[in-house]
Subunit: 298 residues, 2 copies
């Protein structure tokens, strides 16, 4: 496995791979790798010939400097895990390499920027101003540098997945986006780099997945009223002592809030456990709805 730090390097390596007909896949990460990231590698590995793991803690998608500063940084361990998982190339550029005119040029809009669309307006987008603009910008840059054939994003960051799908559609990138399922620990908690910031013995964070699973069961048992589903989930989260950022039931594609669950919907939650912000989401299906038995409507 190669570890590359510069754009010039990675361009040269990938140009050679491309010339020899290799299909290039990319796993975008901010580092602090865990089993969830490694599952992304396993999902994309059979879909391509050369797997690039992009490892870049992008400052412009953090809407608080404190959050950026405390985000875990574990490059050596990440490189070892990537190698073990079968990654061919880890690309870990510096901030200066990606933002050559400096971050101020980005924030002051002196540099060319790409902005997220309507999929970014609600949920985390409403709570974290500029976050998805930073995500869309860095992913466009990543696409332009690596020119992958395929990229994988986890459903753990469900809104991000939809925001990226919109980027690809609206900006006409020729890149296949694969959605990889969210991975839960045995305890039920969704795997996240931010889990490392939680107190080891606290059970409070487990309320998030418990709330989602209860809501899913309620929908399966016939509850179709989104407000009731939201109240059920919020009650469980609040009782555990977490501070709710949002609990929302939305259309699975547009992320627009829905009042009633028809066939399926997505339940998305964000809550603070002390200083640590956690997100989670789950698919809700009404009683008897089986999407795999239906033809898609296109």
């Amino acid at each position: 496995m190669i570890l590359s730090r510069t754009i010039a390097d990675v361009k040269q390596i990938l140009a050679a791979e491309r010339r020899s007909g290799k299909r290039i896949g990319v796993v975008p990460t901010m580092g602090a790798l865990h089993e969830g990231h490694l599952s992304l590698v396993r999902v994309i590995r059979p879909q391509c010939d050369h797997v690039v793991l992009w490892l870049f803690l992008n400052p412009t998608q953090f809407n608080s400097k404190a959050d950026y500063d405390k985000y875990p940084r574990t490059l050596e361990r990440d490189a070892a895990l990537a190698k073990e998982a079968g990654v061919d190339l880890v690309f870990a550029p510096s901030v200066e390499e990606i933002y050559p005119d400096g971050l101020e040029a980005y924030y002051e809009k002196r540099s060319v920027r790409t902005y997220a669309g309507a999929c970014s307006w609600g949920l985390c987008g409403a709570k974290r101003p500029g976050h998805f603009d930073g995500v869309v910008h860095i992913v466009a840059v990543l696409f332009n540098i690596l020119q992958p054939d395929v990229a994988v994003f986890g459903e753990k960051d469900y809104q991000q997945l939809r925001v990226i799908e919109q980027l690809v559609r609206d900006m006409h990138y020729h890149i296949e986006i694969i959605a990889a399922p969210l991975i839960r620990a045995e305890s039920g908690i969704a795997l996240s780099s931010r889990n490392e910031l939680l107190q080891k013995d606290s059970t409070a964070p487990l309320a998030l997945s418990r709330a989602l699973l209860s809501a899913r069961d309620a929908a399966e048992q016939g509850e179709t009223d989104a407000a009731s589903i939201r109240e059920l989930a919020a009650g469980i989260i609040r009782t555990a002592g977490l501070s709710i950022d949002y609990v929302e039931v939305t259309d699975i594609h547009t992320l627009a809030p829905v009042a009633e669950i028809r066939n399926e919907a997505q339940l998305l939650v964000a809550a603070y456990c002390g200083e640590v912000r956690l997100i989670d989401n789950i698919r809700l299906r009404t009683s008897g709805y089986n999407p795999s038995a239906l033809k898609t409507n296109g």
Copy 2:
């Protein structure tokens, strides 16, 4: 020569060219081809194996619907001229093909968009709000669809050239940008599709190039004060009965206004001849300055 109207088509054709190792060059135009565009083809032809002429009258870079509506449309003639000039592929997509969610989604910022940087702030950017955002967006889309190795832009649209260079740098496109010299008719007028909208017998538009050439001579003869140069040019334009939009002396790279010409500067003008807006520009050099005799400073 192939004329293609759909993205799916052009993707397939160019993927095959790329696989066989061809270097792809693109000439972006809005159609209504004239000798200036054909000179772009001649400049890029020896630099690549497959020349694509992009022919798309992009609505989002017009800041007035009247201007968009009256812009000349001459597809059949354009295709014939392109063939004669040695173009391999004319790509002329519909508005629906490029903006699948409709223009309203673009204007209401519901779609993902790319925005121009600081190079777009003055000159035409200040006079035509949204113009360069539309240009940068469509050129990013063009780059994503065609994935060219090289693209050529004319120095006739000098600010646009700098805006595109910034797009490539900030968004990390692997695309070489070639600047092609402005082409003048025998009368001195800069070739432009908008010239077709001028009254045939009017000599007033010639004042623009006359003003620029006089200013260039004055600089060569020792005038280094930007205000004096601007007054000289503005006087000639005004006397001819044109209505000035701007006359500016700027840094040749950043397009920031300069008060004094040191070695070289760019003089840029925009003026209305009746309803028709014309632009032109010229390099100013101080007496004795010879850039080709110097090493560049990087």
